[in-house]
């Protein structure tokens, strides 16, 4: 069984980087987590963001949830807020798409246009 002692070590090891986080200026990722989102696969999408953010050490990024965004047929939906920029809404998300959103949008600041709500709706 893992013990809380490991957490104590994590605390000491991590506190320095937390100070940098106090005014969070990084990306904010919001995943829709109502019944519609969850049944469409929102949780694996959220977990993929956590994993990618951890892998790339984007320590100022935050991942959080919201309720029903309102277009249930396009779930899982994800809103990405980059500091100083307009919100971008990604639809029909999958863990595979998350990798591209993290590397292209969160890291390089380029919106992945083919996954956003406007592009997907036009195609249909």
């Amino acid at each position: 069984m893992k013990t809380l002692k490991e957490l104590e070590e994590i605390r000491q090891r991590t506190l320095e980087s937390v100070n940098l986080r106090k005014d969070r200026k990084g990306a904010r990722v919001v995943v829709g987590m109502a019944t519609c989102g969850i049944s469409a696969g929102a949780r694996p999408v959220l977990m993929a963001f956590v994993e990618e953010i951890q892998n790339r050490r984007l320590l100022d990024a935050t991942v959080t949830q919201t309720g029903c965004i309102g277009v249930c047929r396009l779930e899982p939906m994800v809103e990405v807020y980059m500091p100083g920029e307009e919100k971008v809404t990604y639809v029909n998300m999958t863990p595979e798409k998350v990798k591209r959103v993290v590397s292209e949008h969160l890291v390089n600041g380029q919106v992945v246009r083919e996954f956003i709500i406007g592009a997907v709706e036009k195609k249909d």
Partner: protein
């Protein structure tokens, strides 16, 4: 919903909307008696008798975006399909308790799914809420209380990615142990 962990994630959204700051998730599997109990208890704003009755109805929701609310009805249907049922108790101002009983070995009983992902998602997305997760099987007990974690990590936020990663591995290893080493 494909599995029980997704039902849990969904049902607890109700506790979040009800402004709970403590949510207790209790799972009790008894292979010998062939029963599974799942309970969610919160200290949110609660519901009156009238609202409790409506909450079981798929065509009731407090949301304004849409006129259906499927979380509780879907879970009730799952429980009933497995020779069980769902009970909803609530007191205005005190909180709500939802409890389901299912036959553990029933052929229609959905798998547990990724309980670790559900708990981690809840903690990550609701760092201001405390969660107590306890899971008993015939092989052992797994317990996680975010209040204890907060005591250890002090000023480090609970939604910090390193803490979240630790919690996930704590739960997944713990689940492995209480399942007799088999997932």
């Amino acid at each position: 919903m494909q599995d029980l962990s997704l039902h849990l994630l969904d049902l607890i959204q109700n506790s979040i909307v009800a402004k709970a700051n403590l949510v207790k998730i209790t799972i009790h599997e008894d292979e010998k008696k062939d029963w599974l109990h799942i309970a969610i208890e919160d200290n949110g704003k609660g519901m009156d008798q009238e609202t409790i009755k409506k909450a079981i109805d798929p065509f009731y929701t407090t949301r304004t975006t849409r006129r259906v609310g499927l979380g509780i009805p879907l879970f009730k249907a799952t429980a009933r399909r497995c020779k069980g049922d769902l009970k909803l108790e609530s007191t205005v101002g005190k909180g709500t308790r939802i409890e389901a009983r299912l036959q553990l070995g029933h052929i229609d009983r959905p798998p547990f799914g990724k309980l670790d992902d559900t708990i981690v998602t809840l903690i990550l997305c609701n760092p201001e809420i405390d969660f107590v997760y306890s899971h008993n099987t015939n092989y052992g007990e797994l317990k996680l209380d975010t209040r204890e974690i907060r005591n250890v990590i002090g000023e480090l936020p609970i939604d910090h990615i390193e803490v979240i990663t630790w919690i996930q591995s704590y739960i997944s290893k713990g689940l492995n142990e209480i399942n007799g080493g088999v997932q």
